[in-house]
């Protein structure tokens, strides 16, 4: 709505202030340091009393130019950087990059590596959704769920630590498979986790889902129709809450997803509660996938034989995967050298955030926080 040079010169701020003075609106800056923005998101919110008239997200506070950094790193090296984009599903980011490089090299991945990758992806998805659940309840003013969610997440982190060597930024994927074989304890600990999870997931419903205050805060709030979800480019649970079928694992299966039986969760209401339920039910689907795979990890190599120096042929390669937040696309342009010529990440958070203004208009300030919670924004993923 403002021209670029106006924003640069600070004229836009002045203009907005003058407009607000005329209409009596209140402009508040939520962020970059604010308890509810989970990082450094900056929202310029125009308020009429408590009612939201406009939400303008300002980005760039955590831009680390990851895409540009990747251009100077080799195909083995650049994968670790992508852990720092969507740090909650770091594993799935790495997976997407590894898949893209493999597509360029036309590598055949051993079945064992594929199964390990999928197992790790789903564990990451559960961990991510658990953190989201806790953080979202905290946005709504309930602090206790946060700690309860972290208890289960901690178990997953321990499993990750044992096999991958790190808790958050694992860097376990390499082009051609995974970096190391699974730890001997892996299967046992995952099974223990499944038992724990099934016992504790009921508490989530008791504490938050069934709560009447919570339901009233979520139902009918932040409505996003299926058409709008598509036009804003929303993916993942955000779009599936509006009834848009967009699960990459189902539509464009990668690895062993086409051999697994799991459902794509769809809710049609399109409100905050629908998005909440999609994520909660998705965790159960991930559990289903893990149960199918955990006893059937095939024998074989965990990594395909690759050359010491990877060189992608000249051309353009694009892969996409389903992260915990939606569709992550990796686009590599290769000139045939050791490093990519250009890398572009299509991050789910950016598109999901763009729908926030549309959703928030006309609702109350408290709802904005709830909506941001259900969008599951990870700011480094938006800015990269």
């Amino acid at each position: 709505m403002y021209r670029e040079n106006e924003i640069m010169d600070g004229i836009a701020d002045e203009k907005a202030r003058r407009e607000a003075d005329e209409t009596g609106d209140l402009i508040i800056n939520m962020g970059p340091q604010h308890p509810a923005t989970h990082g450094v998101l900056h929202l310029v919110v125009t308020l009429n009393g408590e009612t939201i008239k406009k939400v303008e997200p300002h980005l760039g506070y955590i831009h680390r130019s990851i895409e540009k950094m990747c251009e100077s790193l080799t195909y083995r090296q650049f994968i670790y950087v992508t852990s720092r984009m969507d740090y909650l599903s770091a594993h799935i980011n790495n997976h997407a990059c590894a898949l893209c490089v493999e597509k360029g090299l036309q590598l055949e991945i051993p079945e064992r590596a594929q199964v390990i990758r999928v197992l790790m992806d789903e564990l990451t998805r559960i961990a991510s959704h658990e953190l989201w659940w806790g953080a979202m309840a905290m946005d709504l003013g309930a602090f206790t769920p946060f700690f309860h969610a972290f208890r289960e997440r901690e178990t997953i982190n321990d499993i990750m630590e044992e096999t991958c060597g790190a808790r958050l930024t694992m860097n376990y994927m390499v082009p051609g498979g995974v970096m190391a074989d699974i730890h001997p304890n892996f299967q046992k600990r995952v099974k223990d986790f499944l038992i724990l999870y099934k016992r504790k997931i009921k508490e989530y419903d008791e504490l938050v889902t069934g709560n009447i205050i919570f339901q009233n805060r979520m139902k009918g709030v932040g409505y996003l129709s299926a058409e709008d979800a598509i036009s804003y480019g929303c993916t993942g649970p955000t779009a599936r809450g509006s009834g848009v079928s967009c699960d990459i694992r189902k539509l464009y299966p990668y690895e062993v997803y086409n051999k697994l039986s799991f459902d794509e969760i769809l809710e049609t209401e399109g409100d905050s509660f629908a998005r909440y339920m999609v994520r909660l039910r998705e965790m159960n689907e991930s559990i289903k996938i893990i149960e199918q795979l955990i006893d059937n990890i095939p024998e074989g190599d965990f990594q395909a034989k690759t050359k010491a120096v990877l060189k992608l042929p000249k051309g353009e390669f694009y892969t996409r995967v389903e992260t915990a937040r939606g569709e992550l696309g990796v686009y590599i342009v290769s000139e045939g050298g050791m490093t990519p010529y250009r890398i572009k990440f299509r991050s789910p958070g950016f598109s999901n955030l763009s729908a926030l203004d549309h959703m928030a208009r006309g609702s109350k300030l408290g709802d904005l926080v709830a909506m941001m919670g259900t969008l599951d924004l990870v700011i480094p993923d938006i800015d990269r």
Binding site: Y80, E154, T169, A180, E203, I212
Partner: protein
């Protein structure tokens, strides 16, 4: 009919609140569920999995010998330039010049523990240590030299 529905609604609402209260009361009274780890106190009992990536180290045996040939594979594999191999030429007894490392400089402050150098090393000269308390008062203390002074390459490692 309206009254019955209304009362049902109110009753359901109160019940939903009560289930939440029961859950928190359970945790309030059951202290064995507490998961807090009192970190600096439990330092002795902390054990990390052997794959935990804490810091790159170079193992030396009792004769102060390491396995590094100075091939710079780790330096090439490192995405951040955390490792720097400085080589020198030793003159052996037969009068031949032999390449060996003078120093393997490791910048812990740049390292992201991505494990790529360990994977790249052909002679298993470096590995990840399970240390994690890396805080120091001066940044220069984080620049480490991995080979011990006076160490030399193990027999038979090429």
């Amino acid at each position: 009919m309206f009254i019955i529905n209304y009362l049902k609604e109110v009753f359901g609402a109160v019940k939903s609140l009560a289930t939440g209260l029961r859950r928190t009361m359970y945790y309030f009274t059951h202290h064995k569920e507490i998961i807090t780890q009192q970190y600096p106190d439990n330092r002795e009992t902390l054990n990390f999995p052997e794959r935990f990536k804490g810091e790159v180290v170079m193992p030396h045996d009792e004769n102060n010998e390491h396995r590094c040939t100075g091939c710079t594979a780790c330096e090439l594999a490192c995405p951040n330039g955390s490792l720097k191999v400085i080589t020198q030429f030793n003159v052996t007894a037969e009068g031949k010049k032999k390449k060996a490392i003078d120093k393997l400089v490791y910048h812990l402050e740049l390292c992201t523990m991505c494990n790529l150098c360990i994977v790249a090393c052909p002679s298993d000269a470096i590995k990840m240590a399970q240390t994690f308390e890396h805080s120091v008062y001066d940044r220069s203390e984080l620049t480490k030299i991995l080979n011990k002074p006076g160490s030399k390459i193990m027999e038979g490692v090429e």
